[in-house]
């Protein structure tokens, strides 16, 4: 589904503090699988995830989504792809403070201009399916870490994306909540979605839900076996 061809990513290119976060990554990711990118801090996991999710463009190399080269597309088209294809769950959840859980979930769908009743119902269903129906009117800053993550997952699912991208999803959760997250992950895979995660949490990396672990170190692939 997604192919990476000789991907390089540099930060501060041409400056004295130039830094190559990724070098020569070749990778093919299949649809309907859960793939975990693992590696120590600074290995390039998150940078790789931003390229896969069309949040940034590679400095060199090609990213192909369903055989279409997306690495050179203008921002406007990347936004459209992001909105239709990807749902993001960030490490810090990145919810908009001051808004209710329901409003946060509906936010990615605003630019689509769906009728309000329809959108609200969809968002309520997402929250209910994640056992958060009773907290829908609560402001997100009043929610616990686990609840905030579930709101972030509901938000990632509101536009019904094919691919869910999660950066260190269990980094801020205890074991019980991490297991709960893995249950949600199983459900997403069962629904036919593709899941891409970064994690160095053994609970995630060694989970039976995960189809493939891709290991990185110093911006290069170490092991990408299935």
């Amino acid at each position: 589904m997604i192919e990476l061809d000789d991907i390089h990513k540099a930060f501060n290119q041409g400056q004295p503090n130039e830094y190559w976060a990724l070098s020569g990554i070749d990778l093919t990711l299949a649809a309907h699988e859960a793939t975990v990118f693992s590696g120590p801090s600074g290995s390039g996991k998150t940078t790789l995830l931003t390229l896969l999710g069309c949040l940034a463009r590679p400095t060199r190399g090609r990213v192909r989504l369903r055989d279409e080269d997306v690495s050179g597309l203008p921002e406007r088209f990347l936004t459209e792809i992001r909105r239709r294809t990807f749902g993001f769950v960030f490490q810090q959840f990145n919810l908009v403070r001051g808004l209710s859980a329901l409003d946060n979930v509906m936010l990615p769908a605003y630019p689509l201009g769906l009728p309000y009743g329809q959108l609200r119902e969809k968002a309520e269903n997402q929250l209910a399916s994640l056992d958060l129906g009773h907290r829908r009117e609560a402001r997100v800053e009043w929610l616990s870490g686990g609840e905030q993550q579930r709101v972030a997952i509901a938000r990632a699912l509101i536009n019904d994306p094919e691919v869910i991208i999660a950066d260190e999803p269990t980094a801020n959760l205890d074991t019980a909540l991490s297991r709960q997250f893995l249950d949600i992950l199983t459900r997403l895979i069962d629904e036919g979605r593709t899941v891409l995660l970064t994690s160095h949490d053994p609970l995630v990396v060694e989970s039976s839900v995960v189809d493939r672990v891709v290991r990185l170190r110093d911006g290069r692939l170490v092991d990408s076996a299935a």
Binding site: T79, N94, L99, L107
Partner: protein
């Protein structure tokens, strides 16, 4: 179209929620903004209404006034002048006027004493302007005493008080008959203060003035249009003074607005990153912020303008009247006729709303066109 409207509704919805989340900051900004619009709009509304009022009142005055000059100073019109003017073609009516100033030490104010042309009050009686009546606390039937410049005390009975509608030019007026006037000021018989002329054909006013200047070289003809223009420039000048005084406030607000609008807080930058990451286009973010700028500036403008309207037309511009209205020493109090001049509203709207909206856009544009991957890094 329906999709576009639905998207705008969502954007406005989110914008309102954003504004509500930063309630204190935004309310403060709207209040300061509205205060500025209030001050500027009060000055322009008041001066515009005053100009109209002056034009309305002066429409009744004679087309030409003739004053005699001695050594460049206004002097009395000697006997014989009126007869000489009567022979100039185009002059319909000539009338010698008698008026003068009197300083009232009781209320420390200057009054204008004038002989009433039509229906003068009987001997020993006067008609007074509403400002004077208010300050001296008199009404029809009361008695007023003035000590003349020669030291003699004169006592008059107030016959009537002039209507408030004409207060702009009659606040300090005392109308009396010719004999009382001449006795009070020791005015020489046959002399007049100036001469009022009415000219039947408005096209001939300038010709008559030229003829007057030629026939009576020691005199100065003053046209009504010139008087009107003088009043207009007095109000323009006063408006300018008030606006100059307000310029410090305008500058302070401009700095505040620029600072608020041109800088983005870390929280706002983070939010823009989140919105872009979850699928908002750069255009959506910019439109949302544009709505925010418009709602703040337009809301503040309407609030300020409405407050200014109420202040000027319902509370007689209590805050600015002493600077802008001032007539002699007795400040006229009269209700202005409500009038809004589109040509005055438009620049005010443009110079307050437009720069703010632009100042909001610049930093948003810069933040919104950057890659949203920064949000991934917390």
């Amino acid at each position: 179209m329906r999709l576009w409207i639905a998207r705008q509704r969502y954007l406005i919805d989110f914008t309102l929620a954003s504004l509500a989340r930063r309630k204190t900051k935004n309310i403060g900004l709207v209040l300061v903004f509205a205060l500025l619009v209030f001050a500027l709009a009060s000055v322009t509304l008041l001066t515009s209404a005053l100009r109209q009022e002056a034009a309305r009142v002066l429409a009744q005055s004679p087309e030409v006034l003739l004053q005699r000059m001695v050594a460049g100073r206004h002097d009395l019109i000697p006997p014989g002048y009126i007869e000489r003017i009567g022979r100039i073609r185009g002059v319909q009516q000539v009338e010698g006027r008698l008026w003068g100033y009197y300083y009232d030490a009781v209320v420390k104010a200057n009054y204008t004493f004038q002989v009433a042309a039509d229906d003068p009050p009987p001997a020993g009686r006067i008609v007074v302007g509403p400002g004077l009546a208010r300050f001296r606390g008199v009404q029809a039937g009361n008695v007023l005493s003035f000590r003349s410049y020669s030291g003699k005390l004169f006592t008059f009975t107030v016959d009537a008080v002039l209507p408030a509608e004409s207060e702009l030019v009659s606040a300090d007026l005392v109308l009396l008959n010719e004999a009382d006037f001449r006795a009070f000021f020791d005015y020489p018989a046959g002399h007049f203060t100036d001469i009022a002329l009415s000219v039947a054909n408005p096209q001939e006013v300038r010709t008559v003035a030229t003829k007057l200047a030629a026939a009576l070289p020691d005199s100065r003809p003053i046209l009504r249009d010139e008087v009107l223009r003088t009043y207009q420039s007095i109000f323009d000048w006063r408006e300018g003074i008030a606006l100059a005084l307000l310029s410090a406030a305008i500058l302070a607000f401009a700095i505040l607005a620029w600072d608020k609008a041109s800088g983005l807080s870390a929280e706002e930058k983070r939010e823009i990153g989140i919105l872009k990451a979850i699928g908002w286009e750069t255009g959506d973010v910019i439109r949302m912020k544009l709505w925010e700028g418009m709602l703040v500036s337009l809301g503040a403008f309407l609030l300020g303008y409405l407050a200014a309207y109420v202040h000027v037309f319902h509370f007689s511009a209590a805050l600015f009247a002493p600077v802008l209205k001032g007539w002699a020493v007795l400040y006229p109090s009269f209700t202005l006729v409500p009038a809004i001049d589109g040509l005055q509203v438009a620049p005010l709207l443009f110079f307050t709303v437009f720069p703010y909206a632009v100042a909001v856009l610049v930093p948003i544009w810069r933040a919104a066109i950057t890659d949203p991957d920064a949000v991934m890094r917390g």
